[in-house]
Each structure stands twice: as C-alpha cells, then as structure tokens.
C-alpha cells in the first residue's frame, strides 16, 4: 500500500481559498491529501502554525496567498514572502526537507492552477516519504 | 502609393442622385443581403466605402455597379438608412457620364433641365425638318406608296444615318468603359483569343438578362425581357422592313403582327414602369432621377404615336397619320439620339459588357481571385475585410 501523505494547506480567504472553491465549482479533480485551513490573509499564517502542523504529523504544508500586488489587504502577501525564507532556514537546520513546506500564489481565478498544484505537491511529498518530525521525540525516547 | 482621399466626391455623386452615403458605418448587412455579393465584388459595401472615401479612380474602374440590379434588399436591410441600392444606381449614372467622352451625359445628369431642353430642341428640329421635307417632297394626304408624304425609302436612309451615329457614339463610350475597367489594368494579360472566346456573353446577356433573372424578385426580369424583345423586334422591323410596315392600307400580318406585339410590349412595360415610379412601391422606383422620367415619357410617346399613326393610316386618315408620324419622329430621334448614347438607355449596352468584362477579368486573373459563379470576374481583392 502506497504512502498517503497528509498535507495541511493554509489558504488566504480572498484569493487562494476562493481559487480552491473555483476548482470545486469547476469540478476539477485533484488528490485528496490536502486539508485546507482558511485564514483571512496569508500574513495571518504564523510560522508557528506551520511548525505545529509538522509536529502534529503533517508530511507537508502549503501556504497560499494572493499574487504579489493583488493582496486584498494591499501588502499582506509580501509579509508572508519575507517570513518564508527564514522558516525554510529553520526547517533546514532541523533536518527537515524544505520541499515539505511550500509558499505559492493562487488567485481566485486559478482553480486549475490550484488543482495542479495540489497534485504536484502531493506527489512531491509522497516521494519524500513520511515526515521525520512525526513523534521524533518519542522515537528517540524509545531507542534511548 | 497611397491613394488620396477626396471627401468632395460624395457631393459630386449627389448630383447623380446619391444620398445618405455617409450614413453607412460598414456593418455589412447590405452585402449579406445581396444575392450577388461575392469576392471580388462585395456589393454594395465596397462601392459605398470607395465612394465615402472618394476613391475616384477605383470607382471608375469598378464593374460592380453594373452587376447590381437594384432589387433593393440592401436598402431594406440597412440599419442606418444609407440607401446603398440608390447609391449603386447613382454610381451607374455617374459611370455612364464617365464613359461618355462628349460630356453630354454628365451635363444631362448634373442638370436635368439641360437634358429636357436638349430633348425639346432636338424634337422641334426633327419636327420642322420632317415637316418641310415632307411638304416639298410629297403630299400630306398620302401616307404610303408613290409621293407619300414621308416615303419609307427615304426615311429609311435617315434611320440608317441616325443608327450609324448613335452606334458610333455608343461604341466609343463602350470603348472607354473597356479602357477603364479592363484595358488600363496592367495586371491583366488578355489575348484576342480570350476576347473572342467570351464574346458570346454579350448577346447572351443582352437578350436573356440572365443575371437579373437570378434576383429573388422575378418581376423586374420579366418586364425587362418583354421590353428588350419588343425593342429588338421594333429595331429589326424599322431597320429592315420599314417599307412593309408603311405599306398598306391592308394589314400585312407577316410584319404587322410583330409590330403590334412589340408595341403592346413597349406600352405595357412603359406603363408599368411609370406606374411603379408614381406609386413608389418597389425599392428601385422609390427615388426617381429626372432622367428616368424623361426616358420613360419618351418611350411612352414613341410607342403610342407609333401605334396611333398605324391605326390612323389603316383607318384611311392618312393626313392625320402623317402628322402623328412627325410627332412620332420628334420623340424617336431624341430618344435614340440622346438617351441611347448619353443617358439611361445606354445601360442596355453597359450591362452585358460588364458581364463580358467581368468574365474576362476572371479569366485573366484566375490565380488571384476565386472564380465566382456567374459573373466570375475579378479585380485584385485588396480589402482584408470586405
């Protein structure tokens, strides 16, 4: 039985979440591995959320917001854009493949793009295998 | 080399009866409605455009107006009331004036009074001429035979001279038409052979009016056919059997049957045409140019006086018949002398010619333009959209 990755997606309400809705209303099929959590703006996405998701057993995390320049709150997505590289540094240092966490821009009209993105990311994470974060502590406790 | 736009041309065309040309905004409904609109003759839209822009040379060398028979569909479909049908009509008048080297028809079309005066003058001269001539050659009470007031043999000579004159005029104008539409087009490569091979088209279309018969509305075609045949019959009778026609008093059915039939045909068609123009039912009768009226009236007079003198002669009133004869000639001479080469009547020559030339063009440029079904004709298709 193949490994089915669990991916948590944090989507901004105005562009990406609406884009996901569009994928739905257009009946575009995509992989069922993504679990979407809505936030008003990608700038609301505290890196803690991403780390929390990984700690809770997510194999991948998707952060999606409006395209730069299109933010409903004028510049929220730039704030997200600034956090992302630091977050990746942190993950890298903790020995977590940075591909597990992706920042993407999806507009309200990009239902297709969103579906493709989910499929592509699902395969990417599937290829990486289960997240090393999953209950890492417990494992070490056991082998100690 | 860019063509110079000439906004004044429209004004010139207005003298020929064009109106509302500038209303057209090229939606193309007219050409969609026209049964003949087909590359390279996008009728009437491309002509409308050339006219709006005043592309004089282009219009001059355009056969399009002659390929339109004014069924009126275009005007009916026009959302802007730009009267494309009437524009085509006025273009035919304008072209007639263009083909005519004497400038007479230009004068006629631009100012109908001139035409009227010309007709009256010619009529009076003819009247006086024939009166004097008759009086000093024969007896006013004798219609035919020896010392007839106007002996057929001599009138015959006059007819031939007149025929000769107007034939020359007409031929020269036709020559000019050829030059404008075919001759001067350097892209055309035509040998004598081509001209001969297609020559049959002229009589064919002259007699059958084939193209007109392709219009959805058949009535105009039938009238034209009747008119053409009657006219033709008359022409032959007058040219070759004038003696027999004048002879009498007993009726010689071998000729008179034809004569009477032709007269009826002429009277009938003239009557219907006049009625149409008065009632303005059909599109082609809605806007009449003064020249149309004059032509029809002349035709009516000619036909009626013709039959009148005939009846009077057969009923033994030779003197009255002779008077009627003079009146008859007073109408015949201006009609043939003025209308045929310089005015409306000339289209009977230009239309078949147009079909002929169109076919020649199509032959000459098969590669450049899809050969349309009759008339398969062509000029370089320039417009990307028309």
């Amino acid at each position: 039985m193949t490994f089915e990755p669990k991916i948590v997606g944090f989507l901004c309400n105005w562009c990406s979440y609406t884009g996901a809705d569009l994928a739905g209303t257009s009946r575009i099929h995509y992989a069922p591995n993504l679990r979407i959590i809505r936030v008003m703006c990608s700038a609301r996405i505290d890196p803690t959320f991403v780390i929390k998701a990984l700690a809770e057993g997510a194999d991948g995390v998707l952060i999606a917001g409006c395209h730069p320049g299109d933010c409903h709150y004028s510049e929220g997505n730039y704030k997200t854009m600034r956090r992302y590289p630091l977050l990746k540094k942190l993950l890298r240092d903790y020995g977590i493949e940075e591909e597990r966490v992706r920042l993407e821009w999806v507009s309200a009209s990009e239902g297709h793009l969103f579906a493709d993105l989910v499929n592509e990311m699902t395969e990417q994470v599937r290829a990486l295998g289960p997240s090393p974060v999953k209950s890492g502590l417990a494992l070490d406790m056991a082998e100690r | 080399m860019a063509i110079r736009v000439n906004p004044k041309l429209i004004e010139e065309l207005e003298a020929y009866g064009a109106q509302d040309v500038s209303k057209c905004y090229h939606c193309g409904n007219c050409s969609a409605a026209c049964p003949f609109s087909k590359e390279p003759y996008i009728i009437p839209r491309r002509a409308m455009r050339s006219l709006q822009m005043g592309l004089e040379k282009k219009l001059e060398s355009d056969l399009q107006p002659w390929l339109c028979y004014y069924c009126g569909e275009c005007s009916a479909q026009c959302p802007r009331g730009a009267e494309p049908g009437e524009t085509m009509m006025s273009l035919r008048r304008w072209l007639t004036a263009r083909y005519d080297f004497t400038g007479i028809s230009r004068a006629f079309y631009r100012n109908w009074k001139i035409e009227l005066i010309a007709i009256i003058v010619v009529a009076i001269i003819t009247g006086i001429g024939f009166a004097l001539w008759g009086l000093n050659t024969g007896d006013i009470n004798v219609y035919s035979g020896a010392n007839a007031f106007l002996p057929a043999s001599q009138v015959h000579v006059f007819d031939w001279i007149l025929a000769g004159f107007l034939l020359t005029m007409l031929l020269i104008n036709c020559g000019r038409m050829w030059w404008f539409t075919v001759g001067r087009d350097k892209d055309l490569r035509l040998g004598a052979g081509d001209y001969l091979r297609k020559a049959w088209l002229m009589p064919y279309h002259f007699i059958t009016q084939r193209r007109l018969s392709q219009c959805d509305e058949k009535r105009p075609w039938m009238l034209h056919i009747v008119l053409m045949l009657s006219y033709l019959t008359m022409l032959i009778l007058i040219m070759f059997f004038l003696g027999e026609m004048a002879a009498g008093p007993e009726i010689d059915w071998r000729v008179h049957a034809f004569g009477l039939a032709a007269t009826v045909g002429l009277l009938l068609t003239t009557f219907l045409a006049l009625r149409g123009r008065i009632k303005k039912v059909d599109a082609l009768h809605r806007h009449s140019h003064e020249t149309d009226w004059m032509f029809l009236i002349l035709l009516a007079v000619v036909a009626s006086t013709g039959i009148l003198q005939f009846t009077l002669h057969r009923t033994g009133n030779d003197a009255a018949a002779n008077v009627a004869y003079i009146v008859h000639m007073m109408a015949v001479v201006p009609m043939l002398g003025l209308e045929v080469p310089f005015s409306k009547w000339s289209h009977m020559a230009y239309r078949p010619l147009a079909m002929y030339f169109a076919e020649l063009r199509a032959e000459a440029l098969p590669a450049r333009v899809p050969k349309a079904e009759l008339p398969a004709a062509a000029e370089p298709a320039r417009s990307p959209i028309a």
């Binding site: 990984l54 700690a55 510049e75 630091l86 540094k89 240092d93 903790y94 977590i96 209950s135 070490d140 | -």
Partner: protein, 326 residues
C-alpha cells in the same frame, strides 16, 4: 522556627554557571544555609549518590536541578531527585529548555563524536576512540554514562514543578525564586501553580528595555554587534542588530541590551508563546524592508546561522522534534 528544609542542588548537562549564580546571591546563601539542610550539592558540599538513593521518597523538600539531560547519568539522577523530592525545580535555561547544549540536537551523536574524537587534530591518530559505555583499562572494567542521541530538557524526562529560566538566572531572581519556594513550603505564601515559571516576569523583554523604539523598524541589512557603531538609546532591532528580546521573557533586568549586547533569549519564550523560534521568524521578517524575493534573500544573508539565534536556548523544547534514531 520549624526544622530545616531538606534541599538538594544538582547539575546535569550544564556549564556550572547556574551553580555559580546561586553562590552569586552572596550573603543570602547564609540565610539559605540557615533555613535549609543541603543534602546534595556537588559543587559546594560533599555528598554521594548513594546517600540520595538511601533517602525515602519525598524526603527532600526541594530538588533544584540545573543543566539538561545529555547522558544516562543525568537521567538517572534527575529521576532519582524527582523521586526523593516534594518539589522539583528546573533551574536555568538548560534544565528549562535544553539550553545551549541542546543546540547539539541540530546534529547527531555520531557527528559529534566524529568531530570531537575521531577528526580532532589534537588527538594522536593511534589513540583515537569514542567514549564507550563499557571499556577495559588495565584489566579493569571502566563504565561511562551512555551518551544520548539528543539533549533533553528536564520536563521531557521527569515531571517538573517549577521553572527558573536564565543562563544563568540572575542572582536577584534566584533569590526571589528560592524565597517563593521557601514561603510556599513554610505556608507563609500560597504556592505558585504547578508548572509556573518563577523568578521571571509575565512580559517580553522590551517591556523593561530602556532603549527607545519607533514605528520605523525597517532595515536593509542586519549587523553583528561589532559591525556597527550603535546608538546606545535606540532599539537594537531598529539598528539592524538581531535582538531576541522581543520574543523573550523578561526578568533578567535587560542586562545584555543595556550593555549593548543583543538579547539571545535565555529567559525563554514570552508567556503564551508556543515556539520562540517560530515567533522570532515573523518578528524579524517584519522589519525587512523589501518586496523583492532576491533582495530579501540578500538581506537575510547578513543574518547568518539564524536558527541558533532563534532557538539558541530552546532547541530541545522546540515544537520541531526530528527523530535522530533513523
């Protein structure tokens, strides 16, 4: 005056600074001595593990342990003290969050051994060996504590009652913490809720920082403290010097920033913050003045080794716990 409180002070994986910080309370130490019997404090008084093992459970009133758990000995004593004490206090950043030693969690035991013992140029190639739990030396069997794959904060090994943060806790806070415990135990004051952080405040460092802050926190590059002539009165962050104070619990008296040294976060996350490192990410990125991904990267290059800034003392307790085992 009730009979003396029974206390033990012990160090795990630590530098010793915590023990010194207790001594730094100066004459207060005499009050402590007057109040308490110190049953175990390797750095100050004599005492044997077996004495502790001999105690009855809960015989100790307070066990104060500093340092993290790095090896089997640390774990053994931690569990032992927990078992024998009424109140178990994690003292100092290492005990509280893993501290500096837990930066080792970013790598693996093998890598550490390799660097320390095998690839170490100061060791003769012939004698190179790694610490073994059991080894024979001159016919004698020598046992060493087992070196764990990772470093653990105390609460990951045993149940901790109170935490005293700091690297080391400043004497004033040490004093305050001990007094609080004593008063609780002697019924003079209500005991702090279990799991409470004692000897620190309930807000982030900025609250006590004398440096002025403006709205204009916008920087085009970061500076290490020695790279720039700093304005002593202006927020270090605003001068481009990465200071963890914004995400660090106050209590230290803002010693570092006051002396021109940026805070490194030894007092741990501000109350209510789940992950100090994660919070520092969004805080720090908020002051980067650029909308262009490439420029942002360039600016961040001026902030090397970000993780050991963000989680300098808290790798062990960070939410991210990658398994080293496999």
């Amino acid at each position: 005056m009730p009979e003396k409180l029974q206390i033990a002070i012990y160090w795990g994986a630590a530098c010793g600074g915590c023990d010194v910080s207790v001594l730094d309370t100066n004459e207060f130490i005499l009050d402590v001595d007057a109040l308490c019997d110190v049953r175990l404090w390797p750095i100050a008084v004599d005492g044997k593990y077996k004495d502790v093992e001999a105690m009855a459970d809960g015989e100790l009133d307070v066990a104060i342990m500093n340092g993290a758990v790095r090896n089997s000995e640390n774990e053994h004593i931690a569990k032992l003290l927990r078992q024998k004490s009424k109140i178990f206090v994690a003292y100092g950043s290492c005990a509280y969050m893993g501290g500096i030693p837990s930066l080792a969690n970013l790598t693996s035991r093998d890598a550490i051994f390799e660097t320390l013992f095998m690839a170490n140029p100061s060791i003769e190639p012939g004698n190179r060996t790694v610490p073994l739990p059991v080894s024979k030396v001159g016919g004698h069997q020598l046992e060493l504590p087992r070196f764990y794959e990772r470093v653990y904060a105390l609460n990951q090994i045993v149940d901790v009652d109170y935490y005293v943060p700091g690297c080391p806790p400043v004497p004033s806070q040490c004093k305050a913490a001990i007094l609080a415990l004593v008063q609780a135990l002697t019924g003079q004051a209500p005991a702090p809720p279990k799991g409470a952080v004692v000897g620190a405040f309930e807000r982030a460092l900025c609250d006590d920082c004398p440096r002025t802050r403006t709205q204009e926190k916008k920087i085009k590059r970061f500076y290490r403290p020695w790279e720039i002539m700093q304005d002593p009165d202006v927020c270090l962050m605003e001068q481009g010097i990465f200071c963890a104070g914004i995400a660090t619990r106050s209590g230290c008296g803002v010693r570092c920033p006051k002396s021109g040294i940026p805070c490194r976060g030894c007092y741990g996350p501000a109350p209510g913050v789940v992950d100090q490192g994660a919070k520092l990410i969004s805080a720090v990125s908020s002051i980067i003045d650029s909308k262009d991904p490439d420029e942002i990267d360039r600016i961040l290059e001026t902030l090397p080794d970000f993780t050991s800034f963000a989680n300098r003392y808290s790798v062990a307790t960070s939410l991210l716990q990658r398994s080293h085992g496999q």
